[in-house]
Assembly symmetry: C2
Homo-oligomer: 405 residues x 2
């Protein structure tokens, strides 16, 4: 279908075409790239060569200008890319702009405006309720009425492979003791899916659930690193703060929503009817993504995104229903993705039951929480058209010992 | 002292010199201004005329470049301003750049990076604990060990006089009932003081309490509008979200820290010894600001900022102790400022005891929460050198009926 040779198991077939920002050893200036097979296509230079009217938005050091250009431009460029890569007549023009992915350094793909983290997986929320509020109902009374979320720190969202320096802070060994200061002893990962806003919305104008795809550009993977001991002590009554704000990692490739049409799937049946602004019966945005979490290369979990209780379209409708404005670069993440099975849990606090039941790894070691030197890798796949499988790339992080202050 | 005629009761004497961004009817391009008496000084043009090496940072449409330039530049320019405005020899050069404040439209003074809201007033936190968690200890166990805070929505921080459109959202009339959707019936103000970061800090490097003034550029007033009914239903377990994210208003003038040296005062005695990174005994940053809150022009409260339990220097040390990076434009607010007395309460939920005891206004009307058409004005003063009083400007907002959707 394409004149380019692409391995059958490549995460980046012609049906994917995710966007990122890269540099090469011979050119330090960051530029927009599109991943295809084992190549990255220098999108700005090609668009400029071809005289596309929106070439300027691709001749940039972040995806923000292109994301802000909106769906007609996104769709036109996607069609152009497919045409260039399939019709052999364009080969001579395109080939000079194809650079080996192996030589590219992948940078933060977009400038984050606001970062919101949701909490939309029932399996995760119910387990955390059991662990953190034993003896109470696992889900708070609001959980099935609205997608619970909170604002995170946009300034510490970084691209995959940023070192995860073990954070220090206050924790309390037990309710009878005074708090102590020191490096977190309960460093955890959270495997999540992030949605990136392209088209802004003005203050005072809610974005209806049906208008989701008019605003959201694409999808990335998110690891919302968490220090459970810091979080447990600080979070009442205003929510997580330092337990989360030291780092949030995102994958370098943003997969456009258009690539995920084949992954759309009905969300789970809700036992409580959503209020009208959250009713998604005519606009279901469940996505059949399968995440995989590896610890030092060993598979520890396969969280199923299709089971998320609240969809990203519901999250966006909720986020804006009070009139909150959207900006290009707003990132909102799903919350930890977990399934009902033991090997579908998207965080160590679930996998080790808050440290009470150490997780046995294939190499014979065990983990309660992360150790210095541990590497966590989150990947995901989605069904594409015609039985092809799309990859969302990966978000990696290695734990470093605490900084000496 | 200055060749300029300045009224004795001007909020902007020579000792103040706050920074803002303005336009005039004959020039639509936003530019940096310094308030002095009844004038705004076009700082960029004057700095350029005078060939200052950092003139470029003042020739900008936000304060961010100047704020990023750091304390040596801030202090040098402040000295230049004082010299220009006191020595008559400069009058001919300076006067053309002095424009009537009355003709200036004041815009958002800086581009907000991350917005954090603290909860550092004991009188406020204890009252809210009594109201929202009756029968429990008013303060959560962590309150006197760390300055509780959470991230707010940076994208909806706007300058004073932005209309306050009454937000809609979910609330629950009682614990026995299902949630309903509609305009907030408990719209409130929160009188706060905001601190604006100029100099960034890298990921992984905590900012010590003593380094506060190396990073923080100045101070503004903040009204953190709150929909109490939305907040009460949504906030467990991850904190406030839509109840706050529809709008946060800031005053147009940022008063540099240097102007507030005379307002520094010892913070209240703490009954719990802070952990070492929060120990401010050698670096007290209490500030003797007196806020005033007016509802439709009628004084309803005079919250005393000097009584805040946690100082801004402690807040900054806490915010970064886990390695979180700072960016130019980060805004962190104090939390509602309230004193022990009835007429020192910085929010209507305190003034009307969550609506149970309507507040009587001088004009004979009463309020539980804000009505459409109400105008809230927050002002503040600080003692300056030699008995002069400095004004922090004002943050105003008028409540508009809910948008028809």
């Amino acid at each position: 279908m394409t004149w380019l040779s692409i391995a059958a198991d490549s995460p980046f077939p012609l049906e994917n075409l995710p966007y990122g920002i890269f540099t090469t050893p011979d050119r330090a200036e960051p530029r927009v790239g599109v991943a295809i097979g084992e190549y990255v296509l220098a999108a700005g230079a090609l668009a400029t060569d071809q005289g596309l009217r929106y070439a300027r938005t691709l001749d940039a050091s972040t995806l923000n200008p292109f994301m802000a250009a909106g769906p007609p431009v996104w769709h036109d460029f996607r069609q152009q890319l497919r045409r260039w890569l399939t019709d052999d007549v364009h080969r001579a023009v395109v080939e000079p702009h194809l650079l080996p992915l192996a030589n590219a350094l992948l940078l933060m793909p977009f400038e984050v405006a606001d970062y919101v983290d949701f909490y939309s997986c029932e399996h995760h929320a119910a387990r955390l309720g059991q662990l953190l509020r034993p003896g109470q109902e696992p889900l708070t009374p609001n959980w099935k009425h609205l997608p619970i979320g909170y604002h995170g720190r946009a300034g510490t969202v970084r691209v995959s492979d940023t070192p995860v320096v073990r954070p220090s802070g206050q924790s309390r060994p037990s309710a009878a003791e005074a708090p102590v200061f020191g490096p977190s002893g309960k460093l955890d990962f959270e495997a999540e899916v992030g949605f990136v806003v392209g088209v802004p919305s003005p203050l005072g104008k809610p974005v209806a659930l049906e208008d989701f795809a008019d605003h959201v550009f694409g999808v990335c993977l998110v690891n919302d690193w968490s220090a459970r001991d810091l979080q447990a002590w600080e979070y009442a009554p205003l929510g997580p703060f330092l337990g989360k704000s030291f780092l949030t990692s995102v994958s370098p490739w943003v997969v456009p929503l258009a690539a995920l049409e084949g992954a759309r799937t009905p969300p789970p049946t809700r036992d409580v009817a959503p209020l009208p602004y959250l009713d998604d019966s005519s606009c279901p945005w469940g996505l059949d993504l399968t995440l995989e979490v590896r610890l030092n290369g060993q598979l520890v979990s396969r969280p199923p995104f299709r089971q998320m209780y609240w969809t990203a379209a519901q999250q966006l409708a909720h986020l804006t229903v009070n009139g909150a404005a959207l900006r290009t670069g707003d990132l909102f993440a799903s919350g930890t993705v977990s399934g009902p099975a033991d090997d579908e849990r998207g965080s160590l606090i679930e996998l080790s039951w808050n440290g009470e039941r150490p997780l046995a790894l294939p190499d014979g070691s065990t983990r309660t929480f992360l150790q210095d030197g541990d590497t966590v890798t989150v990947t995901a796949t989605a069904p594409g058209p015609g039985g092809v499988t799309l990859g969302l790339g990966e978000v990696i992080g290695t734990v470093h010992p605490p900084a000496t202050q």
